[in-house]
């Protein structure tokens, strides 16, 4: 695991990495706010997860799948041309900066995003619990595709709930799910996006609780989901530690990741929370701008604490506690909440959360494609939009890692539409 020179990868007393507490709280946030029908199952899941964590055979099976099925570790790639681009920009402004930019290439995983890390872990848990049917929600479809994939791999029937709006704007992923044998249920309630898909998945779960396992796609929901999803995604940050030690002989200085529910971000951030020298940025979907009412999906920059989908966290809501739909060009970030650990990290000040607008994300999308030959998903394009602002202001010896958490194949038609390109 960690190299001899990197001794800080295990949590200590007074660590920022010990959460949640035994009731699933990260400070004020998290918890288990679910209907009674689900409580016994949530408690069973917690027990099954604790057993699995202590079982070397579970870890061995997961590691094997990560290596040979998913293709981990994903590379840590030095984005040389983008780095040069940012340095030129700094120079043009009369400055000498321009951070050295690395991408953590989680878009190269099987299924094309970080979502598979979590799904492989959870399908093994479902098997341990003897569940025979899998359900999931999906926004951009990346999680749905990953769930459909592991269900095919393990021979379990699977139903995916997806907002009707998202079914339209992410049709390539809908086709992939069908081909993998999943049943996709379009959800028409609300605005037909991720929040509504999650409501409907919860309704299915309440109805079929005895045989069904719900693979939640992000580090949110009732305890223990935020914890177990984070743990499965933390392989991202753990690999970055080792890879950066190997590449540069030290830890990175700056981390950047996009935040919808925040699973790729917490996976990158968590192993570094106790390394005080590492600056950490989470990038929310600023949509049309955080000042536009209901025009963004930046729950931490433009929301308030509340309780939804099993946990207390920052939410987009009105002053009567009704949840707002939010807006983002990215279906994967278009969610009115965020994982509870992020809410806590925001309040403690350990992580800085910033918004990037639709327009900025589209610019970053194009820059990345042309400078690096990598078509990013619209989700990490938000992270890159912040890197575009930040990197030119940082010194040249600043090692910046951005999580390229998904590839943009699913987005090319939608982006072509936004850019007015006739195909």
């Amino acid at each position: 695991m960690a190299t001899p020179t990197d001794k800080s990868s295990e949590p200590k007393l007074n660590s920022l990495r010990n959460g949640p507490d035994e009731r699933g709280h990260f400070g004020l946030y998290g918890g288990r706010f679910v209907a009674e029908t689900l409580m016994p199952l949530i408690l069973d899941l917690e027990k099954a997860y604790n057993d699995a964590k202590a079982d070397p055979a579970f870890h061995a099976e997961l590691t094997n799948l990560n290596t040979f099925y998913s293709g981990r570790p994903s590379p840590l790639y030095y984005a040389e041309r983008l780095t040069a681009h940012f340095r030129e920009q700094a120079k043009a402004a009369g400055k000498s900066g321009g951070a050295k930019v690395y991408f953590k290439r989680d878009e190269l995983n099987h299924t094309g995003s970080h979502k598979i890390n979590n799904c492989l872990g959870q399908i093994l848990l479902a098997k341990r619990m003897g569940k025979t049917r899998i359900i999931a929600e999906t926004g951009a479809g990346q999680h749905g595709v990953a769930v459909a994939t592991v269900c095919a791999r393990f021979g379990l029937p699977c139903e995916i709930y997806m907002g009707a709006t998202d079914v339209k704007r992410q049709s390539p992923n809908v086709a992939r799910m069908y081909m993998l044998g999943a049943k996709v249920n379009p959800v028409t309630s609300g605005a037909g996006t991720l929040k509504d898909a999650m409501n409907e998945a919860l309704r299915d779960w309440v109805t079929n609780v005895r045989d069904t396992y719900y693979i939640i796609g992000t580090a949110a929901g009732p305890h223990p989901y935020p914890q177990l999803v984070r743990d499965f995604q933390s392989i991202i940050g753990k690999e970055v530690r080792e890879q950066m030690m190997a590449a540069e002989g030290r830890l990175p200085d700056t981390l950047v990741a996009c935040i919808g529910g925040g699973s790729n971000a917490i996976g990158l951030f968590h192993p570094f929370l106790d390394d005080k020298g590492v600056k950490i940025f989470g990038v929310e979907a600023g949509g049309h701008g955080v000042d536009v009412p209901n025009g963004h999906a930046a729950s931490m920059n433009g929301g308030a604490p509340g309780v939804l989908h099993g946990n207390r966290t920052y939410l987009l809501q009105d002053d009567d506690g009704q949840i707002l739909e939010g807006h983002s060009i990215s279906a994967g970030l278009d969610y009115p909440g965020v994982g509870p650990e992020h809410s806590w990290l925001k309040d403690t000040g350990r992580v800085t959360y910033v918004p990037a607008t639709d327009k900025e994300a589209l610019e970053a999308f194009q820059l990345c494609a042309r400078q690096e030959g990598i078509i990013p998903a619209l989700e990490p394009a938000h992270a890159l939009a912040w890197v575009m602002k930040l990197a030119p202001t940082l010194p040249q010896d600043d090692l910046l890692v951005m999580n390229m958490c998904g590839r943009g194949d699913k987005d090319v038609f939608a982006v072509a539409g936004y850019l007015g390109i006739a195909i």
């Binding site: 009731r23 918890g31 288990r32 706010f33 679910v34 209907a35 009674e36 029908t37 689900l38 409580m39 016994p40 199952l41 309630s189 609300g190 929040k195 409501n199 919860l202 309704r203 309440v206 109805t207 079929n208 609780v209 005895r210 308030a304 509340g306 309780v307 939804l308 989908h309 099993g310 207390r312 939410l315 809501q317 002053d319 009567d320 506690g321 009704q322 949840i323």
Partner: protein, 274 residues
Amino acid sequence: MTETRIDRRFAALKKEGRAGLVTFVTAGDPDQATSQAILDGLPAAGADIIELGMPFSDPMADGPAIQASSLRALHAGQRMTKTLAMVRAFREKDQDTPIVLMGYYNPIYVYGNERFLADAVAAGVDGLIVVDVPPEADDELCLPALQAGLNFIRLATPTTDDKRLPAVLNNTSGFLYYVSITGITGAAAPQVMDVSAQVERIRRSTKLPIAVGFGVRSPEQAKALAASADAVVVGSALVTEIAKSLDEQGRATSATAPSVLSLVKSLASALRAR
């Protein structure tokens, strides 16, 4: 805890030797005036206990009928302050029929727990059912509610086994709401035999009255369930009556309140029939 309107009502039902009718409608559905008319008419129509839904944008445990009802209320401008005002107006005319506010935690949390409990008591609310606050979070809302003099009514479900039951019963007061199916409101009809067995099982652990609900639509079903339960809850069927009575623009008609109240009457007379 001192005796509440809910306790008194169940004691009276016991004396009468019949099961009670618990009705659910959403506050503000389809608009505040019509909803107030329905609420005010419920006792005379035969409702023994009134559950008044606090509408929420994301009712995760509810089926399509109550989801739609919640959205109709919100579109008509319903807010927590208006829901409490409806209870206040009701209490001016009726001092005896218990009102239980039912809903999800977020609108309460955002209103402010302390302020909410004080305002609910002042308005004449008797109990709370908050679907997504389990016993594990009792210190949040349940214990302060009990302290404020409100009943906190918990749901027990087919997945509440004997190991889990004590946790559910602890701090529950007024009555226990047995959810007759694993599922959302208004879904499949409950199997009367299964429900009776479950209610008998739960009775061995508590002296609380037990109300049975979820999926009860007709007077015949209500009557059958009443054999084992202390009360029967009907909700989705009532809000479906509201939906059916609306005009093409979704507005209330002169038939809205009467059609809901007439269904309540037929349910109530089924429970009163010997």
